[in-house]
């Protein structure tokens, strides 16, 4: 694990009117690491990732990207830094094929706005291959004909194709069957193996324990703690999510940080 986190948040807060969605939250994720973000409904997970993605910036606190302070004003700024978000509803166009979706809004084109189809198709096939996505038969089939797992794979592949440094996955396994969940989790592991920083939001602790290196728990907009997956049990995480404190103090993250 690199010394400088890919993304580090220090004391960030966010409120909507009188509702405090996030209060003095600390968070960090490193290259090659899968960081799970868990918490009950209303814990502030969505607010946190939307703020990272620039949809509604934090009110206060520091955001450091690869060690330097940044201000993420909008989604474009986030994309420029190399932050990509795969939302739960995937945001794919059913009527377009895999290549067209992968390049949506960033089509390769010449001076006359004419698209370079061959180039786009080639790079799409390469990207899918590099992620070992082998279940998609043709990159020219429309997304409507793909299964849920394949669609998730396309959405993830789209996020990593643009020299991204940090990929955020919002509930990537919700609504997937067993085999497809496995397929997507393998894909998530492969992203980290390729050196990307990965944040995964999930309600499914079995999935979280399968892929995550560390687990960050939020409760009512505040940090509960960061747990090393290998040193934690599902019970301790559940208790952190619901009560706000782990059952066993020993479960607290290896680097000695305790955030309460």
């Amino acid at each position: 694990m690199a010394d400088v986190p890919t993304l580090e948040l220090r004391n960030v807060s966010k409120s909507f009117g009188s509702v405090q969605a996030l209060v003095d939250v600390d968070f960090d994720v490193h290259d090659g690491e899968v960081m799970a973000l868990v918490g009950d409904n209303g814990a502030g997970k969505s607010t946190l990732i939307k703020s990272i993605a620039g949809i509604h910036p934090f009110d206060s606190g520091e955001v450091l990207f690869e060690g330097s302070r940044v201000n993420i004003h909008g989604p474009k700024e986030a994309a420029r830094l190399g932050i990509e978000v795969v939302y739960q509803d995937l945001a794919l166009c059913d009527n377009l094929d895999v290549v067209q979706n992968m390049y949506l809004g960033r089509e390769a084109h010449d001076l006359f706005q004419r698209m370079r189809e061959a180039e786009m198709e080639k790079r799409t096939a390469e990207t899918l291959k590099s992620l070992s996505v082998t279940t998609i038969r043709s990159v020219r089939q429309t997304v409507a004909t793909l299964s849920g797992g394949q669609r998730q794979s396309v959405a993830v592949a789209r996020a990593v194709m643009w020299n991204s440094r940090l990929v955020i996955l919002d509930e990537p396994t919700a609504a997937l069957g067993v085999a497809q969940t496995h397929q997507v989790l393998e894909l998530v592991k492969r992203l980290a193996e390729q050196g990307l920083a990965v944040i995964i939001i999930s309600h499914n602790l079995t999935d979280v324990f399968e892929v995550a290196d560390r687990i960050s728990v939020l409760r009512l907009g505040r940090n509960v703690g960061v747990y090393d997956r290998k040193a934690s049990t599902q019970e301790s995480i559940i208790s952190a999510i619901t009560v706000g404190a782990p059952i066993k103090a020993a479960a607290i993250a290896g680097n000695g940080e305790t955030r309460l």
């Binding site: 067209q100 960033r106 004419r114 279940t135």
Partner: protein, 409 residues
């Protein structure tokens, strides 16, 4: 595809061109894309039927007539295809086409102060069309008023504008030859042949260009049999049409205009980023927005295209009659154009369809109209037949979409 498992489509491609094409078509059908096949089959059946029933139908003179009759509707329907691709509707196109006719007729009028030539009048009318579309599109895209209501208001407003402009006289004759030639000029025999050659050459160059760029990228170059077969069909159709037309007055300029417009707008829709974004907004506007596409701008542009093509179609219709009167833009113009786009295979649900649908659908409607006229059927038969075909087309579209939804995708 470069990954391990060879696809069924690829396997089929190895077996032979036609089964591969059939397989690819089935894939598209499964994705809710009906394509052009049903309408082409229908067109052949309709042509065969009327050729059998009437001795006049399959003659060069009638062929020329049919092309000119189809032109106006086909041109207006091109704009409708774009609007339908967005999942929107434009009900104002009928009277906007009338406005187009009135503007050119007014501007070419002798004895008035405005001294515009034919071309000047047409250009001004097209600009007016773009402005009408920009206004209507802005209400839809920026204020989110449903397009049905905005363009219904447009229908009423432009109808009123035509009544006001034509005033008590109620009719303006068009003497300007440049304008009248849009619908009444016929190419010489040689020009017709050269044009057919140009069309075939354009297809061959396009196919070779795509083959070379795919080859260079190391991609599967697809099956040559199918490409050659398509090329041969296009050559047969192009030279066949010219051969038939040359037995009469020659190829009508209006027909050339339609083919050129279908070619141009197909290119815009399928090959440019703008076209891709139109399909994306129609398929999933929220996904398009998140992908950084300016959805409002795309919507406004599409309504501008719709109104501009309506104006152009209206000019063809006015030129054909050498005049505009109080019925300009009324009657079946609106419904014919929308029906043409839908019968041609454009989905009403957005995101699926091709520009060529405008031409194919218009041909179906106008061939039926022309054929029924020739065998002496009355208007009610025309209306009922067109209605039934429209219903069939929409049913096909809806069923293929429902199948998709039911399979949980």
């Amino acid at each position: 595809m470069s990954d391990g498992a060879p696809s069924e489509v690829e396997e089929a491609a190895e077996r032979g061109g036609l089964s591969a094409a059939a397989r690819a078509y089935l894939e598209r059908l499964k994705a809710g894309d009906v394509g052009s096949l049903p309408v082409i089959v229908a067109l052949i059946a309709i042509t065969a039927f009327f050729s059998y029933k009437s001795t006049v139908f399959f003659t060069a003179i009638n062929f020329d007539n049919l092309i000119v009759q189809t032109a106006g509707t086909a041109i207006i329907a091109i704009g409708v295809v774009f609007v339908l691709l967005l999942g929107e509707i434009d009900l104002s196109i009928g009277y906007v086409s009338g406005v187009g006719g009135v503007i050119v007729a007014e501007l070419q009028q002798a004895g008035t102060n405005h001294n515009f030539g034919g071309l000047g009048a047409i250009v001004i009318a097209l600009i007016a069309g773009l402005m009408i579309g920009a206004a209507q599109g802005s209400f839809v895209a920026l204020i989110a008023v449903p397009s049905f209501v905005v363009t219904l208001a447009g229908l009423l407003i432009w109808q009123g504008a035509i009544l006001k402009a034509l005033g008590t006289e109620g009719v303006i004759g068009i003497q300007n030859n440049f304008i009248n030639n849009v619908a009444n000029y016929f190419l010489s025999e040689e020009a017709g042949w050269i044009l057919a050659g140009v069309v075939v050459l354009a297809y061959v160059l396009g196919a070779v260009g795509s083959y070379v760029s795919r080859r260079r990228a190391g991609l599967d170059t697809g099956d040559l049999t199918l490409t050659v077969l398509k090329g041969v069909s296009i050559a047969v159709i192009a030279f066949g049409v010219v051969a038939i037309c040359n037995h009469s007055r020659g190829v009508p300029f209006a027909g050339v205009l339609v083919v050129a417009l279908v070619g141009f707008w197909s290119y815009v829709a399928r090959r440019t980023t703008f076209g891709r974004h139109v399909y994306a907004v129609g398929g999933n506007a929220e996904a398009a927005r998140r992908a950084g596409i300016n959805v409002a701008r795309i919507r406004i542009f599409v309504f501008m295209i719709s109104s501009m093509m309506a104006v152009l179609g209206g000019i063809v219709l006015a030129a054909r009659l050498n005049s505009v009167d109080l019925t300009a833009g009324s009657g079946t113009i609106l419904l014919d154009a929308i029906a043409a786009a839908v019968i041609g295979g454009t989905s009403l649900y957005g995101g699926r369809g091709y520009v060529r649908a405008a031409l194919l659908g218009a041909l179906v409607i106008k061939t039926i109209e022309n054929g029924l006229d020739l065998i002496g059927q009355s208007d009610w038969v025309k209306d009922v037949t067109t209605g039934v075909i429209l219903l069939l087309a929409v049913t096909l579209d809806t069923v293929s979409r429902r199948r998709l939804a039911r399979s949980g995708r």
